[in-house]
């Protein structure tokens, strides 16, 4: 009772990274709160995955397994989650901010009238004193996220409603297995009440899920372009530099919105969070929306013709000038100097 439950997402028969990241974070929160970490796993033939969840600290895995649950569907999945939360009364529930988590969590929070904060970049435990009533709350979940296009950082709390729910994007939290798995157990959920016809009003006719082709998260060097790159064609310069350096190409939200780059390359609050050893920001102004996803990079180089662009302020090397000149020179210099 009053534990932390992490919703486990799977893809291609494996546990998604974001779920393992949330278990890692949830483990730390549970330690602080002296409660237990649990997981909710819904799917078909997924029981073999529980061992991995134990390795990340889940002491109990609530398992809903049925042929009809093979693919994610809002209604049966939310019915199972809502029923479980009503019974278990977790104090905290965490979901990945994925197309599944962001479909499921709001539906659940609406039904339970519990607060939900999307896309948190940090989760902490802290106290709160209500100014008006003077009422004190101990050990609330601080749900910290950028808002307003990333121009402010807000700390959100849910003083009176449980569970305190949050979604977190992939890559924001660190993923760390335990040295030895906890001795966990499976608690099977009776899914019969969720598998009624009324929960299958939406049916999947066709699915084309592609393996992740672009994965910039794991790349040690990222060359990222913003709106200032100017066009999809100009992005080729970035690909040239990336291929010379063995890097991946990233992009800001503005560049993705303008159609210069594939959404899978988007770095920032609403894209992926990266921590490479070198991040080269080209034609990126440096709004928090973007920097929230890359400011932990070991080294940052900014290239922007606007000397006042905020990106220069967080860069280790700030180059003011034209990217069309600078990038070819970088490639040339690299080819001459690396042996």
């Amino acid at each position: 009772m009053n534990n932390i439950i992490v919703y486990i997402e799977t893809e291609g028969g494996k546990v998604s990274d974001v779920s393992l990241e949330l278990l890692t974070k949830g483990r730390m929160l549970a330690k602080k709160l002296s409660c237990k970490l649990e997981a909710l796993l819904i799917g078909h033939k997924v029981e073999s995955l529980v061992e991995e969840l134990y390795l990340y600290g889940a002491e109990k895995v609530h398992l809903a397994d049925d042929k009809k649950l093979e693919h994610y569907l809002t209604l049966p999945y939310s019915a199972i989650t809502i029923e479980l939360f009503k019974k278990e009364k977790p104090q905290i529930a965490l979901f990945g901010a994925t197309s599944i988590g962001r479909d499921l969590a709001p539906r659940v929070s609406s039904s339970l009238v519990s607060g939900l904060t999307a896309d948190c970049t940090s989760l902490e435990i802290g106290d709160h004193k209500e100014n008006k009533s003077g009422k004190e709350y101990k050990n609330l979940l601080y749900q910290i996220r950028p808002a307003f296009g990333g121009n402010i950082i807000a700390t959100i709390i849910n003083p009176d409603h449980r569970p305190q729910m949050a979604t977190v994007r992939e890559g924001v939290m660190k993923k760390e297995p335990l040295d030895t798995a906890v001795k966990g157990k499976v608690s099977k959920i009776d899914v019969s009440s969720a598998l009624i016809d009324e929960n299958f009003l939406v049916e999947i006719i066709e699915r084309h899920i592609e393996e992740r082709k672009i994965d910039i998260k794991g790349s040690p060097i990222i060359v990222s372009g913003g709106f200032g790159v100017g066009s999809k064609e100009n992005f080729n310069l970035l690909y040239d530099l990336a291929s010379a350096l063995g890097a991946q190409v990233g992009a800001s939200r503005a560049a993705v919105d303008a159609g210069f780059a594939d959404p899978a390359r988007q770095v920032g609050q609403t894209g992926v969070t990266v921590r490479p050893k070198l991040y080269i920001a080209v034609g990126i102004s440096g709004q928090i929306q973007h920097t929230a996803g890359m400011d932990q990079s070991a080294m940052i180089i900014s290239i922007n013709n606007d000397a006042n662009a905020p990106i220069h302020q967080i860069a280790d090397y700030a180059i003011v000038g034209d990217l069309n000149e600078i990038i070819p020179r970088m490639i040339k210099s690299y080819k001459q100097n690396s042996k």
């Binding site: 709001p106 296009g149 600078i326």
Partner: protein
Amino acid sequence: MTQKFKIVVLAKQVPDTRNVGKNAMKEDGTVNRAALAAIFNPEDMNALEQALRLKDRFPGSEVLLLTMGPGRAAEVIREGYYRGADGGVLLTDRKFAGADTLATSYALSMAIKKMNPHIIIAGRQAIDGDTAQVGPQVAEKLNFPQVTYAEEIQGFEDGKLVVKRRLERGVETVKTTLPAVITVHATAPACRPRNAKQIMRYKHARTNSEALDNEHNSYLPVQTKEELIIPEWGVADVGGEEINYGLSGSPTKVKKIENIVFQAKESKKLTSSVEDIDYLITELIDSHTIG
């Protein structure tokens, strides 16, 4: 019998957080939110287009906008008219103030019940909050199925709407019964432009509150035509329990807001000269950052 739909498009007026220009930055490096332009939330535009396409395909269908906000949000309804919508409602009441996504969803769902549509279409998320929560929460409040991340409403077969969804790594096509809530992704087609005839016809569309303001403003025509009045609904019009609205209906509270101030690092300033670039690359190679 030909199929006709009543479609409600949820649209929000938002500050244009994507374009924080220099004049919107304060001296201390924080954003002056008041200096940002108020715009029609971009993904709600994609949603409107999907609704208008349904109306094109099923003549006689009706597209109505529903927006919640202060009086000036009536602009969203006018914008909808200009692009082909048939009307709209402004949900406005001081009792809505301080609403989080859940209290907002409650208010919207109460208004939707009154409008009684077949299909509700909304943008996936608004650029001021980026939460993507209101669509699913409205669906839950109404006990309707939801189809999120829609890229295209493809058709209507056997009483069901066929919708293509854009997921992180692929696409999925689903069929849903009606009524349903659809949220539309930015990869959906852009909204059609304003139509000159519609602008002429609806440029004087006003809420009664706006018309009252205008009486003191002699150069603007006073609202007279009944069909050009944009209805304003408050709690009294849509019903429901007051405790579920506004601040008291919001489980989440903002504990703290920090304005972002850029923390300057010790950065090395370089130019685009060959010498500077050579220096940089050599440094990177020597430190084994690259190479």
